[in-house]
Amino acid sequence: MKTLKHKSLPAYILLAPYFLLLLVFFLLPALTILPMSFTRWSLLDKPKFIGFQNYQKLLSDALFWKAVGNTFYYTVMVTALLTTLGLLLALLLNQNIKGRTLGRIFVIIPYVISSAAAGVVWKWMYNQNFGIINSYMRALKLPMLPFLTSTKWAMPSIVFMNAWWSVGFNTIIYLAALQGIPQEIFEAAEVDGANKLQVFRYITMPFLKPITLYVTVLCAANSFQMFDEAYMMTQGGPVGSTATLVFRIYNTAFEAFKFGEAAAISMLTMIFIVIMSLIQFKVSKRGG
């Protein structure tokens, strides 16, 4: 026992700064959200306890439900796109093909850019009248698209930009997982006469399952909290079509100074994420 304690001490000491910072700057503030959500508080006055009023107001607020809808729409699209695209790219880059290293580098490069910078660049590229994408469309005699200026197109445009920006992350994870599959199994399958599809279905897929769970849970939880892209590119517009839950938290807290209501949205957002992750775990367990 004593030796065990002694051995793990350095680990605890090395982890301590991280946990201390996490506690002070993340965990404790996060815990205050719950009591805050039952108050009316403008930051400069004393918080006033109002029970469930914030929640009641939100549940009957059309703008809140619109934000919920926008958030789910974005999350489902981004998660589906990033998981499939990440897997496809990883499979491709795992082949013994020419230019593989270059391909791997190119896939990860956009992820190195900050999402805010990527947002600004894409905002220019998406410009309806004078952007580079539409000037190509025009040259090709195709209709010019209102990428960020129509309620229908704005969200898909952000999804596409996000896919370009962050697909590299999923690709790298899948690539690592693919390379972790023991080569002998593939060889054995080949000896047994399995075709490529069968190899993928019965060997690659099962091996990738835990990683797929990891990727989808992470991706869904991340995109559920999308903020910077919308903030940089559309500011939640046009007509609120890209205003997500986190965007509403920001607006409510830092523009309207309703910290109680913002805390209530935060709580509801957290509940959504927990439910979503639980479903994902359940589904993946049943599949296994």
Binding site: L43, L44, Q128, N129, P146, T234, P238, G240, A243, A256
Partner: protein, 441 residues
Amino acid sequence: MKRKLVFLVSMLVVFSMLFAACTPKPAEEPKTEAPAEEAPAVEPITITFWNGLGAPENVILGEMVNEFNKTNTDGITIEIIELDWGTLYSKIVLDFATGNAPDITTMHQTNLIQNQALGILQPVDALAKEVGLDFNDFVAAPLEGTLIDGEHYAIPLDMHPLGLFFNVEAFEAAGLDPAKPPKTGDEFIEYAKKLTIDEDGDGNPEQWGFGLGYSGGLPFRLWMSLLWQQGGKVLNDDATAAAFNTPEGIAALQFLHDLVYVHKVSPPGEQDPYDDFGRGLVAMLIEGPWGMGDFAEIEGLDFGTAMVPVAFDKPAAWGNSHTFAFPANNKPERSLAAMKFAKWMSDHNFEWSRDSGHQPVRKSVAESAEFKALEKWQPFAETVQYGYYYPATVKTAEVFGREPTSPFVLMMESVMLTENPDIAQAIAAAEAAVNEILASD
């Protein structure tokens, strides 16, 4: 043994890094010894100043601050912190709550009432008197705008009503006389049509007559200007309810919508009219005088200015005023030093107006021959008398926000982005949203 050593060394590295990060910086070294010798009685003081003005005005302001820092004999150093307006207005509430508010900050006149109501600002009459700033030399409207319950809460810096910017070369190419910019709504549409040029005939003009946009502050400020031109009101007289859902409000929206979809002189879904004017993609723009500095820097852009055309019954244009406000910090010596800086800026009101494009607020400057010689400034100077501000309400930031979740931005977006919008429904939605904000406590 070796392991232990590695462990010890790594611990040392970690802790030394931690300590390096935590060690407080040594107190500022008295490098200012040279001036201290000249005036030994003066104690150096560093003042925090928040600036919400963006490019290019922030550069000019920065230069003036440097000049003040170098020349003042009171040992005052102004330290600028640059913020955009949206951040400034939320950060000041947060930082005031935690005791970190700046000693002095820029603020729009129409935001004073909200920040005063939140208890953030202190009255400035005594401070102004102490440094010898004479309120009698201030233009009436911007000075009165700083009055709350009989006390002044800020020092006006400038005024910025909307005006018409036009591209002189584009005018000449279209056979229009730059000396005769459009004065009425009909003239404006006629000019804009001539300035909309689709050379290759593909239905996408290479040059548009007018840059309007659909989001942010500009479109709804222009809509308000048109509402005011008809004698309409944004809020009722005691600012307790919306008053814009009227035939006048709808007519103003219809006028702007028609520019894009009927007369086809302004690009639909235009994201940045300001940039587009600078690049010559649109030939006319209605903006605040802050455009002047930027546009003058652009090589090959020859622009003229005029008053906002009168599309309805009488001249009216949205405007606002920048001020210096002083958060209540209970540190009189800091507030006094900050006020000395505000006085210096006010005494250099001509330089500020000349370099930033804004309108002066000191009577002596506005009436001076040297200001009247600034030709492009004069249409704005003439507009000042017709300049309308947002009606005063303690909910300024929410009612008149420029964010896409603000009521007026939502209204403009839902009208300007659709070819056949339900204007009555859009204006009713904005009315309901504004009333809800005004009714909430």
